[in-house]
Subunit: 285 residues, 6 copies
Amino acid sequence: MDKNIETFIGCDAEYEDSKIVIFGAPFDSTTSFRPGARFGSSAIRHESFGLEVYSPYQDKELTDYKIFDSGDIELCFGSAESALKDIEDRASEILNDGKLPLMLGGEHLVTLGTVRAAFKEHPDMHLIQFDAHCDLRDDYLGAKLSHAAVVRRCHDFMGDGKIHQFCIRSGEKSEFEFAAKHTDMHKFNFDGIKEVVSELASKKIPVYLTIDLDCLDSGIFPGTGTPEAGGVSFTDLLSAIIEVSKCNIIGADVNELAPMLDTSGMSTATACKVVRELLIAIASK
Amino acid sequence: MDKNIETFIGCDAEYEDSKIVIFGAPFDSTTSFRPGARFGSSAIRHESFGLEVYSPYQDKELTDYKIFDSGDIELCFGSAESALKDIEDRASEILNDGKLPLMLGGEHLVTLGTVRAAFKEHPDMHLIQFDAHCDLRDDYLGAKLSHAAVVRRCHDFMGDGKIHQFCIRSGEKSEFEFAAKHTDMHKFNFDGIKEVVSELASKKIPVYLTIDLDCLDSGIFPGTGTPEAGGVSFTDLLSAIIEVSKCNIIGADVNELAPMLDTSGMSTATACKVVRELLIAIASK
Amino acid sequence: MDKNIETFIGCDAEYEDSKIVIFGAPFDSTTSFRPGARFGSSAIRHESFGLEVYSPYQDKELTDYKIFDSGDIELCFGSAESALKDIEDRASEILNDGKLPLMLGGEHLVTLGTVRAAFKEHPDMHLIQFDAHCDLRDDYLGAKLSHAAVVRRCHDFMGDGKIHQFCIRSGEKSEFEFAAKHTDMHKFNFDGIKEVVSELASKKIPVYLTIDLDCLDSGIFPGTGTPEAGGVSFTDLLSAIIEVSKCNIIGADVNELAPMLDTSGMSTATACKVVRELLIAIASK
Amino acid sequence: MDKNIETFIGCDAEYEDSKIVIFGAPFDSTTSFRPGARFGSSAIRHESFGLEVYSPYQDKELTDYKIFDSGDIELCFGSAESALKDIEDRASEILNDGKLPLMLGGEHLVTLGTVRAAFKEHPDMHLIQFDAHCDLRDDYLGAKLSHAAVVRRCHDFMGDGKIHQFCIRSGEKSEFEFAAKHTDMHKFNFDGIKEVVSELASKKIPVYLTIDLDCLDSGIFPGTGTPEAGGVSFTDLLSAIIEVSKCNIIGADVNELAPMLDTSGMSTATACKVVRELLIAIASK
Amino acid sequence: MDKNIETFIGCDAEYEDSKIVIFGAPFDSTTSFRPGARFGSSAIRHESFGLEVYSPYQDKELTDYKIFDSGDIELCFGSAESALKDIEDRASEILNDGKLPLMLGGEHLVTLGTVRAAFKEHPDMHLIQFDAHCDLRDDYLGAKLSHAAVVRRCHDFMGDGKIHQFCIRSGEKSEFEFAAKHTDMHKFNFDGIKEVVSELASKKIPVYLTIDLDCLDSGIFPGTGTPEAGGVSFTDLLSAIIEVSKCNIIGADVNELAPMLDTSGMSTATACKVVRELLIAIASK
Amino acid sequence: MDKNIETFIGCDAEYEDSKIVIFGAPFDSTTSFRPGARFGSSAIRHESFGLEVYSPYQDKELTDYKIFDSGDIELCFGSAESALKDIEDRASEILNDGKLPLMLGGEHLVTLGTVRAAFKEHPDMHLIQFDAHCDLRDDYLGAKLSHAAVVRRCHDFMGDGKIHQFCIRSGEKSEFEFAAKHTDMHKFNFDGIKEVVSELASKKIPVYLTIDLDCLDSGIFPGTGTPEAGGVSFTDLLSAIIEVSKCNIIGADVNELAPMLDTSGMSTATACKVVRELLIAIASK
């Protein structure tokens, strides 16, 4: 009789054989408004069984690729630095083994852990961010390590011109001013993404893709800490993912599903579909 | 003092006088993911009183037409064949009386009962399906009678070229391959519907219309067992219904509302509006 | 140690200095379908702290303007006339002080109170209504003072040609017939709004703007008594607000959020954003 | 084919043959805290089909008695006096026909309508009230007709010593002082009920029983406008109902279920069971 | 890097070493009222991580015993016989290996599968049932295999005097009449359980314990298809479990948690605690 | 026109005149299972308006005492030490002014801040804890500052024999072992509380009372991170509060309401009632 192994649907290859390694980072201690993203990775894995492994959008099957799901890391609530250290270690291990880490959050701060690991391997890397929020605060109520400051923390070591932000529609005035000087910000939607991808792909620059699911319109993704009206549609996001997958992707994450906030379950179902399409897009390259 | 009679709003004509007869099929035993569609027909009837009888879209009033609502059939949970038999009997009785059955589901499997009845009367009939899912599996975990196989079961006796599928965006690879050979599948949206309707209407072919409400985007219709992002809007669906009503409609159904899954009630409200518009569209022809 | 003062985010100026004065009208006794709008104003104020004060849409900050929030009026449930009297008194006080009242409902009937007050000051005023429903019934089950009759009551004293209705997609046939004769109705969306605004703005006509949030599509605004599919998007509404702000606005209100009906909180979050954008649009003129 | 008749389970006798007549009073306009009791009667009727007709507590079957369910009265929201008039008329009709009215609320104010009707027939009647709240305010924010004043309004015409209150655990100080002088109040639980019943039964005094379901502990009945901890258990309530049924009951009601406030459905299920037991207790005498 | 193994907390022994084997039976197709028990076993496993492994009630730790959790069986929705066959096979395998099966439902019908398996091994076995409902119908709307008939089906082969029922407070009159003749029924609570256990334990009779969690009061366990007021408390149930564990237990199950029906999560938390206490009680014997 | 001041009902005295000062500590970053307690203090304040100021249990009115409500402190999520510092400062300020701090949590860790402040003033103080959980871990996943370790942290400086724990029914074995040696633990209920209070009161020992609302049975208090079946009733808790108020109370708190977890609102309503009774009990001494 077998033990009870749970993976994202179709991702049941052996670690050694896999090109992509999924892991969950169930952390949300710095969430300033409504917590719950800690349950995101687990819900995505669990509810993925309502999905098929076949994508009619890309006409490919997830099971045609080798993907390993190592489950959730056990993280310490209340200590952001400690949690980030554990995340960075896991991502580094995967990268060192020549594989691509795909992290499921968790709040957006977890991205700092994987980007630190990726930057060690690829100091020339760029970051593409899909998000409703700038995440460019210098601190949040004094905390340097906050979901609202995560991209600013990445900029601290990545520097100017390497961060490409899309769908942004919320933030403090100072964040937008920072972006004007230091990042490549595309407000409200994905306008300009083809040009960015074309440039990055042609130069084979290593790209890390971070998807804060609140880039989606709150109407189709209410299950998140700070839902924002005026976002992109699922098909917009899908097209953008497929576009970005033309780059040399070296890591990715999908964040900020807070499943309990949407009792209808549609947010979780949408997150699952985003993960399936992202996995297929990356794996099939 | 009168007994408490409940009907869909405005559908209080006598059976003998009516052109359309509504009945509910509260069954969801084969639902593979999240059950609850058994409560759909009752919720639609009950919540219809939040609607007006007038459609500003079609500039017509529901009360200008004779429609009878016979309530829900009492169905046996746990036995799909027995439930389908009872549904087929009810639909046959209505068809034999020269009336048009309009069934409220229930899970999508219930359509097999009414299509069987309709096919007996109209062996040349076509089926138009609005749905997120192919529903073309040969079986589901061994069960031939499953919501995921319902259109395949219809194909068993209807044969090739008679099933027109719209809005499809989920299924196994084999279902899409089956569709490529045996059905007229239109993926993702209603592209091509005018051509299909034009052909069917010009030949006065009897048409049965089955609407799985999950064809709608999950953002406007989360209250269903397997909500799917990337669907059509309410106005898209409304236009498609009005388009299809140009055909010789001989029966129709509206399925897969699971009202408890959407505590906001918007899914039920939308389902009511779909039913009102469908009734007016058909009745006014 | 300070008392606990709660305002809409960023609206903490002194009354004397303020151009705009916010107040809440927590009343929903005449709601015919699903009540709960009484909690709307309080929820908007409370949840506004999930917002930033900066609008990337208008590139302005709410805190650059002087706005006072006087909290909710205590209203008597069960007596519409008494509640309307209290609302009219509050609005009159604000208008008499040369300020602009911005009311947060409550059900839509509360608008009658502020429009009465505004009409006393500005007998040449026009009313612009964003709403899914006509609200033009002569009475509702015998009640002259009903949310479903509020605009009809305004017409009683405002007369023909002064009411401009947008996004209307629900009502009785007789209401649409009334509109054809007596109001300037634009069905379904904001088509024609530029022309209306151009005319009103050029003549400097005083304009009162009433926003029933159910003008929004039910997919992005389920948290309301009677959600209606087929509505406008948040960005449509935002553009319309900015357009209308070109007029000589003398009062405004935002109504019909019933926060408990949407446990995901996205409806409340959207309402907060509408209020922020409306405040900035009016205040910056 | 039959019309769709909905009754409380097992209550499908003809009016002429029935000893008890059920009707619903879907009104909650004066509810001061959380509305929703308007949906109570309908939910009780609808969900009663999860019950059996047999009571193991009383070892009797509901179907052994003739009971008629006339459905809900259509009441005007926003006008308490008008709604009370309609309720009084319905109750008077039933009483005039020599039958016993059993009303399903609605908020507690609806009891004033039936008690007025009962008092016209039986000026010597007593009122037994099961309730968490005194309901003895002279007015609520100026309104004489309020759920919080309903028993005070009954006292206006019934006079001293005729109102027996049980389970009371909430109210203003002045209400408790009023009770000390004018009513027979039993705080917190059913202590003293045997003595009260013994006295009333021995004198064959006509008794009207009003049950505000919030007498139950909030733990087993959260689905009500103002849930109160520290209440009685279901079995306490059941025993009290059976005790009171020894009196000469001439009317009764069950109020204040607000089904939407308890999405688990347990409050509605409990209300159904209370109604079944109350019907059997009265009918079997 | 390890695969993601999910078990009930603390139950991570190897199969060979284990005395107790947990498995889930996610089936609810015959549920007549509100479905959702299919998600029970998975929720119990998942949420068990909110528990400690130590029981202060029994002063023992779950991790002191060897228990294996084999996850959920994949069952075919819509075919009760097929599902029961799969359950029986799994239970037989465990029993054949000299281990004790502990099944997590699922609706109560699943018990028929394990009892069939247990009866093959132990034809002298008795069944102890904790339940609000008799489950003694001969059929339910024609279906012999129904959750409402499951104990009747067991009686079919076990015969008279071997079924001990506790906490029963709902059923048809005929079921109570059947019980009076054929089973040992204890209504409403656990009265008499010490005597039953004493008799069974002294004779070392093999005992199968089935716990329908709706034996608990609906106030503490609303998350079930048919919640019933008037049930036992958690501590009553705990005492009864510890009492029954004095018998020669050869199998057990815990059923009818429908987690989605209770969004507060307390029903799931309670179910987890029941399972922990049951495991410790049995394992420590 | 007045600013919008929000206080717990009836607590609107001036700071200088007040004996008791309420403040909220909206922090839950270390919550290990389900977060949301950050919204507890705000919900209690907001929903208190569904309460009366009069307690029939104590026959006293809250408005007879001078109490000031200073609102919520703004705390940094993600940094427990920083949050605790801010809480300690606020409590110290109140204590220094000769007033009694009454804190509304937040997760239970916040108690460490107030107890630190109280201990500075009263090094001989005792701590009385009502709680389902020991909260005696030495650390939680490495974090010394965790809600699961809060009482252990208090023990660090308070020492043996000064902590009195009641209602405890959950924890690791090692925590119970620690308690056996170092604290005065009363498992499951309030047994022994009269003796403890008698001893403390007779010696006029300063006592700080911390109430983790999960001491209540999960059936009446599901709205908390880790609901635990088998707890005390509301009336048990009320009696215990009144008993403890005989001591020389120098500070108190009420923690762990997570209002969003219980959409019925009964948990919040119960918390409000606990706070009212606690305030009256302390203030009237």
